[in-house]
Subunit: 240 residues, 4 copies
């Protein structure tokens, strides 16, 4: 990484801190067990720093427990998923994160979990229907299902991008696998990971005892537009 | 707020402490994720202090995490929801809280969450039937459902007040949205928020495997009357 | 309490410590919310200390949160439920505890909760069937349901005693109300409260997707007999 | 144990630390209540140390709470389950652990819990179907059910070995009882105990609202082969 300009290296150091800290949110909200789950954030390489390398990503290493997740333990990869800096291998899901960054330039953060309720909808291959005002706010409609894809090449990344490109939803339920979420940075993607599990769980429980009441499409549109308008200046800002 | 008499300003300071501390109960009992949920308490402006301004309310600011909720972070609004004191915007649910305070003078505290089981009943638009003695004690009957209402005007507040005025229940399940609870102060409203999730969850689980046994109306009345009589002197006092 | 001999007063002091400490197990295992739930333990008054008063019980006061439960906060009652020592009123369930101690001399500890899954079976009025080896070990069969009973006289206590006298089960699900458990001391009753929720939850979940496999009655008898025989010397000792 | 060579005794001391520490993972991931559950690890006795005794195992004592589980509290047994070192009786499940070590020389760690969802499948006698990519990775197919077996002889151990020998799965659901898991060491067996509960729970929830989508057998084989190949060098290493 010696070819990268100093401002980029400083940004890498800051991003290591952010990504390490955000991993603590996954067990905190009950989204992961053991070493499962991963958070990444893009490091933008500004072309004004001269003709230089492409953007980078910071991600969790493979097989490290949530007790050990320090900034130093994080690893840095290029957007082809090659390890540039770090003592351990990057997460085995790095290829999927990297594909998203290469193909969705507006995305600055990606999160993957096997959170229980979201994964349960994924195992049935069924989208989560938008029957809660908080879903209209955050997802602007149903949470969609992506295709079944094997690990090992670009299949997972392609399935994420094909499902989320043009969708209001920042979350996709990859079939038989689990949720991937995106955001303008890692904190927004972590928030989407927390929210997708929350709505998957609430709608699941609602449906267990009978049909839910639909929300009119124009009300969904109105809630989503207001939420994006009021909070859209800062995508990481939350309301309550 | 310089026009307010000193006793009111002192009461505002005390209320900031109470409201900040009570917010910690929401994640503690699993009622909220991320920055969702909010607690408010009325500050009574005694007319004996001279012809002066109306009552105030202290509430959580918008988009602040539960780790940051100090007394200083709380914000103060008038009962039209206008920000009087505070560095951040008030919760986007402030209009609903303010409407309740304007129209139910006996209410001193309001809480809103998206707690999972209560919200699941709300998504079906179905009241929680009173089949537990603790429901008879605390709610005096079923937990009612309020109308669907969009955020942005007085619709949510009006739905809360129309449903709870004249009801024994301190909780309403706003359709497709979630529970709002009231009390003579914020601690009573928080207790009601904890209890509505507890009974929503227990009755949900009971109903999953078959019909529940109803409780006779006269038994419900008797349990409620006893509970209000014995504990009614101090609405914030709990029994066990 | 000045009429009680010194060894009894010392035993009261020790029992206050035990009962205070055991209350922490109720929120720890998720059996209670807010101030619900209570643990009591009998203090035996040995007649060899001279012609003196009857046995006592130590119990949680009414309406105290789980953060405040110190030995000093506990209250002492006689077996008619009258307060002998303490700054606050005894739990409103004291009459039920006292009735059990008066009528079941072998019982030294009583616990009451509204733990979710046990209360859900109680709301249907349905015993938990013995389909787990740990149920055969601990309960020796199904967990029985007791009658519906109003608070305010001996109805609840009588329902507990009539259901548990002659039963192998240390737990009864009072209809539309929740579980009461007994033991030779308070730790055994707390263990039974933890276990009844655990088996109520596991069997509930098992039954959600289809019928469970019954265990032969002679296998239940054999498991129960072995467990009582091996661990029977010390009823508070646990196996794993 | 004075007949054992010094390197074995040093390995026993290290194993006591490991087994004590790993017990903390069981309540951490919600797999146990009260004193239930146990972890053991084999201590290999190298025949090069001279003609000496057979392998040993370190396990939790019976009836000790999770707050008291220090290295000193662990007990050492031979592979017939006889206590060699320790102040308390070994876990009542020691015979089952010992049988597995005697009959599966490749196994270095065994875990037993009554974790809720895995035990629920066991109560129905139903294998957990492989409908999640993480199941294909970790279990290579369905999680199988073992026979009903009474405690007191080799029945449980025999049921475990007969079910797992030749299976890809490191977990068996003993009918009406609960899961046993194996691994090359105790940490791998603990990981399998965490994962079997996770997949039992996720598939349960998926199935509650309708049928799950099957994964093609060749995809299961491919996922399993890749996972074993990439992570197979070190069976205790995890991916994320």
């Amino acid at each position: 990484m010696t070819t990268y300009p100093r401002p980029v290296l400083e940004e890498v150091a800051r991003t290591r801190e952010v990504v390490a800290r955000l991993h603590a949110e996954l067990p905190r909200w009950g989204l992961v067990v053991w070493t499962a789950g991963n958070v990444s954030q893009r490091v933008v390489v500004d072309p004004r720093h001269g003709p230089g390398p492409e953007d980078l990503l910071v991600i969790k290493p493979s097989g490290v427990t949530y007790d050990e997740l320090t900034a130093e333990a994080m690893v840095v990869c290029d957007l082809d998923g090659n390890l540039l800096e770090g003592d351990r291998s990057p997460s085995s899901d790095t290829a999927a994160h990297a594909y998203v960054y290469r193909n969705m330039p507006e995305v600055g953060g990606v999160v993957h979990t096997h959170s229980t309720y979201a994964t349960a909808w994924a195992a049935r291959g069924e989208p989560v229907p938008c029957v809660l005002t908080m879903m209209a706010d955050e997802f602007g409609g149903d949470v969609p299902v992506g295709p079944f894809a094997l690990i090992g090449d670009d299949s997972i990344g392609r399935g994420i991008v094909e499902t989320l490109r043009g969708s209001r939803s920042p979350a996709v339920l990859m079939r038989n696998h689990g949720p991937f979420t995106i955001g303008r940075d890692a904190v927004a993607a972590v928030k989407a990971a927390v929210m997708v599990e929350e709505v998957a769980r609430t709608v699941h429980i609602a449906r267990q005892l009978g049909p839910t009441v639909p929300i009119d499409q124009n009300h969904i549109d109105s809630l989503y537009a207001r939420y994006q308008n009021v909070y859209g200046q800062n995508l990481t800002e939350d309301r309550s």
